[in-house]
């Protein structure tokens, strides 16, 4: 069985990581479709995808809850599977947390009306990733879905998702929050609070300072719940039901990125990195023909001239294919005994249409597929 088939049949959560622009959202959606076509009921969770993918899946942006995707005609067999997609709005998740865990309704509404809070998810680095994990938390104890695929938020590098919860919790740290709330603790604590008040007063003015303090006081009260969820999720991510996939594209940085990612995820965080998906590769062109001008006797002279002009591009494509094959081998060598590399073809502009997704999903479902290497 090809490794993707194995993965979508045995895991409960698959987390797709990767740098921006490698086709991570498309890959996640195609994985979901592939899993639905083998009878799974699947949820794909994604944050702020491109409009076109939302359109292709036929769902609204940022709905309140997951929306079923119409996959009739996209999957071959009469499968029992289903696909839902949820384009996540981080602010909405934060609101739910506030509603659920606030001490009183009054606290919840004061916090939700606080101007600092209203902008917090847009303003705190790592908050998107943090809320993505919170959203996932809602579903892991829920047996509506056999498989949840999490498409991590766009970022410059693939490691961001792994680091983000820590980055957000540097901000969401109760001890730091308490410093901003006056009137408690030791003399040194009170002096620090005074210094902070002074800095905030001259920087923002007293009104904003009071809003900040109100925010810190109320939101600070929720932190123990949030951090509890986060800690539980971290344990869950390390469990056997969860696998991480690295989505990458054939660039010069791919090798180094994979190396870093594996080291950090497997070595330091003890997560299961199942494999690497090398997207947009030309490895499927193995066996293609090199066009030769004047190859057939009596070839149309216009065609001969055109093939002659095409030659530089033909050679370039062949060279790229060879490069991608080599990269695939090198990535496979990096990925250890259990890991694998799965190449997906470059579909160009069609990749994120429904037909494109379906083509990629078929590719993932193909047992004869030789595009992977262990």
């Amino acid at each position: 069985m090809n490794p993707i088939q194995d993965l979508i049949r045995t895991r409960k959560v698959i987390v797709c990581c990767g740098a921006g622009g490698v086709g991570k959202t498309t890959t996640s959606a195609a994985l979901g479709l592939a899993a639905a076509s083998v009878g799974k009921s699947v949820l794909v969770v994604t944050i702020d995808p491109s409009k076109r993918l939302a359109e292709a899946l036929g769902v609204d942006r940022n709905p309140e809850r997951p929306i079923p995707v119409d996959i009739d005609g996209l999957i071959d067999k009469k499968s029992e599977g289903s696909l839902s997609a949820w384009m996540l709005d981080p602010q909405l998740i934060a609101d739910r947390v506030v509603e659920r865990f606030s001490g009183s309704n009054r606290d919840a509404s004061t916090l939700m009306n606080n101007p600092i809070y209203q902008n917090v998810t847009a303003m705190v680095a790592g908050m998107q990733e943090y809320t993505a994990v919170q959203a996932l938390y809602e579903f892991i104890h829920d047996d509506r879905y056999d498989l949840i695929i999490l498409d991590t938020p766009p970022s410059r590098d693939a490691l961001r998702f792994l680091d983000a919860p820590e980055r957000a919790s540097a901000f969401l740290d109760r001890r730091i929050f308490n410093l901003f709330v006056p009137g408690e603790g030791s003399a040194i604590r009170r002096m620090t609070t005074k210094l902070l008040e002074k800095v905030m007063d001259v920087s923002f003015g007293p009104d904003t300072r009071r809003e900040l303090q109100q925010f810190f006081q109320l939101f600070g009260g929720l932190l123990s719940h949030l951090n509890h969820n986060q800690a539980e999720m971290r344990r869950f991510f390390g469990g056997e039901d969860v696998s991480f996939l690295l989505v990458t594209a054939p660039t010069s940085a791919a090798l180094e990125e994979t190396q870093f990612f594996s080291r950090r995820a497997t070595g330091e965080l003890d997560l299961d990195v199942a494999g690497v998906i090398l997207n947009r590769s030309l490895t499927h062109c193995r066996g293609w023909t090199m066009p030769i001008p004047g190859f057939h006797e009596g070839q149309d002279p216009v065609l001969s001239a055109a093939i002659l002009k095409l030659r530089q591009f033909s050679l370039r494509e062949q060279e790229m294919m060879e490069g991608h094959l080599q990269l695939k081998g090198e990535l496979a060598a990096l990925s250890g005994d259990k890991g694998w590399v799965f190449t997906l073809p470059h579909l160009g502009p069609d990749a994120s249409t429904l037909d494109g997704l379906s083509a990629i999903a078929h590719y993932m479902a193909d047992d004869e597929n030789d595009q992977y290497e262990k």
Binding site: G20, R156, D173, T192, L196, F204, P291, L303, A306, S314
Partner: protein, 304 residues
Amino acid sequence: MYFLNRHTLLISGKGGVGRTAVAAAIGLASSRAKKRTLVLEISYEESSQSALGARFGRPNLNEEALPIDDYLAIGRLNAKVGHSLFLRTILPSKTLIAAALRSKAVHKFLTAAPSLHEMGIFYHLLTLIQKTRADGTRKYELIIIDMPATGHTLALTGLPAILLRLIPAGPIARALKDGQAILNNPDLSEAWIVTLPEKLPVTEALELVDGLTETDVTVGGMILNRMPPDPFTEDERAVLDAYCETGHFFGQLTLARIRAAKVAMSDLKNRFDAPVLTLPEVVDTDLMTNPLQSHISELMGAES
């Protein structure tokens, strides 16, 4: 004439479209036109290597503006530098400044609290824009900023409006208004969006135009990067298409890409009402000899 008659250019676009290469090439072209030019990137992680610096053989570029030659300097915008510059101007006494800069709590607050990270970057940029020489003229006549990916770009350009709602008065508000007076003035500042001649990147670039317009930043135009050359006549194209139907041939992907690029370009021109410049696909090697720069020099001379 493009680019040269502004004070600041924000070079924006999604990851992987060649934004840094374009920002650096505009910087080179402008400096060769004898404008005192500063190219900046934004460092989110202090320890990380500089993508901009790497193009000039200086991957360890830090926060100081580094002169490359008489007319060109490169540097990184950094929140921490901005914060300390800011604290120095607002706090009334040296003792307080020293205490604030030493305090771990203040430091944690500045790095972690909502928007203050962006505010630091914003303030650092503002001080560089306002820098003058002994004779009172601007130290840098043109500042080019290699903006981060879409979300971070809008967080930065939208910052003044959001923060001014929260903080209507005081020194932060004044700095924000000074910044707005430059960045939201179409005579002084423009954003240029780098994108690729493909369907999805074009759609996303148009979304970015809307986002930037909402934050009151004027979009000067788009740069369609890596436009594949099309050497074929219509007749040749027709016979090649027919030929490719008969099997799988190396070169057919490029043919499809050339066609898609032309469709994407005309689609963009139909939907976007400002200049669309194209840059050809070049092998991205050493920047100092990068052919992009000569293309941009040509565009700078072109009438707009």
